[in-house]
């Protein structure tokens, strides 16, 4: 019988630790498919960050360096500058990239480092148990905003893709989601383009994925997907902010 669907070769054959309904698995798969399709598994150095995605090195058959919390873009800068022929990507959550790591992401982008940054925004700190993230939506309840995020005291959700768009150093900036098959197909195209931007030595590419966190959102997987559609996308519009799909 002909195999029509299989695990990408860049992924290991072990079950992930991700919760049911979490989108990290889908995003991992899309990344792995791109690696396979471009045939670059052996020239990749991935930079893992701190958060649920730290175990990148268990799931991808690639060289991986683990960065301190928020510092992945600086670590990746060192990797890429010392190894310009490698394909270097970071994979960071919203706590990592948009809170503690704002300085590193903005300046790596502003320098136009030839990196591909995969930013996973699920509006909470996942691994530590669902605390408020910079991306937590107004009135959203988390373990540290038990009465809902009060923007008067806790500030507003940060739209990172829009910030990246404004920096002259970036070449490709997009926000996408994987909550529906249609969005997954679109996401794949966007991610492929973000890979190409580095492979063609064009510059810095940034893709923000809206992602679910059913466990910390305290809802099932379907409702979580629906929340992305109904609540997140209106606040974090899906768009290709800079650059275009070829």
């Amino acid at each position: 019988m002909e195999a029509v669907f299989k695990r990408p070769e860049s992924l290991t054959d072990i079950p992930t630790h991700f919760c049911p309904g979490c989108h990290h698995g889908i995003i991992h798969r899309l990344v792995a498919e791109c690696i396979d399709e471009f045939g670059i598994r052996e020239k990749i150095i991935g930079v893992a960050s701190v958060g649920c995605s730290v175990f990148l090195y268990d799931y991808f058959l690639i060289d991986v360096l683990e960065a301190p919390h928020g510092r992945a873009p600086a670590v990746a800068t060192g990797v890429k500058r010392a190894n310009p022929n490698a394909f270097v990507f970071t994979y960071q959550g919203d706590g990592d990239l948009a809170a503690i790591g704002t300085s590193e992401i903005i300046h790596a982008a502003n320098r136009g480092e030839k990196l591909t940054v995969i930013f996973v925004n699920n509006t909470v700190f996942g691994m530590t148990g669902g605390q408020m993230a910079p991306t937590t939506l107004p009135d959203q309840e988390t373990t540290t905003t038990p009465y809902g995020r009060d923007v008067e005291t806790a500030g507003f959700p940060i739209r990172m893709a829009e910030i990246m768009e404004r920096l002259d150093g970036t070449k490709f900036v997009a926000r996408t989601a994987v909550n529906t098959p249609k969005n997954i197909i679109k996401s794949k195209k966007i991610l492929r383009r973000a890979f190409e931007v580095q492979l063609n030595n064009e510059g810095f590419a940034f893709v923000e994925f809206l992602s679910s966190c059913p466990t910390n959102w305290k809802m099932n997987a379907q409702k979580a997907n629906q929340r992305i559609q109904d609540v997140m996308i209106p606040y974090f519009p899906l768009n290709i902010f800079k650059g275009a799909l070829n």
């Binding site: 990749i44 150095i45 058959l61 960065a67 600086a74 060192g78 890429k80």
Partner: protein, 351 residues
Amino acid sequence: MTDIELVKGNESIAMGAIEAGCRFYFGYPITPQNDIPEYMSRHLPKCGGVFIQAESEIASINMLMGAGATGARAMTSSSSPGISLKQEGISYMCGSQIPGVIVNMSRSGPGLGGISPSQGDYFQATRGGGHGDYRTIVLAPSSVQENYDLTMHAFDLADKYRNPVIILGDALLGNIKEPLRRHKYIPKTFEKNWILTGAQGRSPRRLKSLYLSEGELTEHNWMLHRNYQEMTKEILYETQWMDDAKLVVVAFGSVARIIKTSVSMAREQGMAVGLFRPITLYPFPYKQLLDISETIHHFMAVELNTGQMVEDVKLSVGHRKNRVDFYGRPPGSIPSPDELFEEIQKVYCLP
């Protein structure tokens, strides 16, 4: 290369780094070490290297980690407050066994403090400095020539032990100009079967410090500990006037330079004083001092702080019949050789 040049201390470090094959420098401006990034920004591009003025000391140390992870020789430099910011990265580098050279031309603290010479960062440098049970090799030069030589050596030690190496100086060692004889770096080969280059024709490699499985972290830390024990092979120190000494002055770095004059003044007065200068502050020459205490029982630690290295001196010889005296002062003013001579006189006749 054998010509002699009058070179500023900070620049001699940059020169040593480039000669030792350092091609990547990441830094952030802070006085009193700015000559290092400035020199690197002028000279690295000429030899195919990369200079990045990072957005912070935190970013610099993480860039160093990234470059070091690929096997490149890389350096960052800063001064005390900046080194505090780098401690997170240094801890990760130790945990992930990534080499790199970190220069601390320290200034006086705490806080923003001042830019005068200081040895207030001794504990920070020799006790790991950041979180976790780790150590970094610490080299303490005390002349412009040694700045150059020890910087080259630092790159070898970093590669040999897969660990960050700290060069601990201060404003005095950074700002003085002295004759420098540059010499060729003799390349050494180190097994680099751990570097990240892309998993071409081999299994993927991971450089990480997160170990959650049962017993995994303990084993990892024991392995690091054995590596630190191995480093005791690298102990360096200098002694002078020790043969008939009744009092041994122990000092490092800039203070060792100043007090060398004070000890020679004491010798001119017929006082039997010797000088012991640790060059590696970690690993500290505990055993070497202990051996000396077989015949000499009086020690005096002198530092430009209120008492840090003296604890290591006491760990070496602070028992049995030995006496350990201490003179130190908070940073802000530099003691003169005359003042230190008076301090030596005060303790010389103590029992």
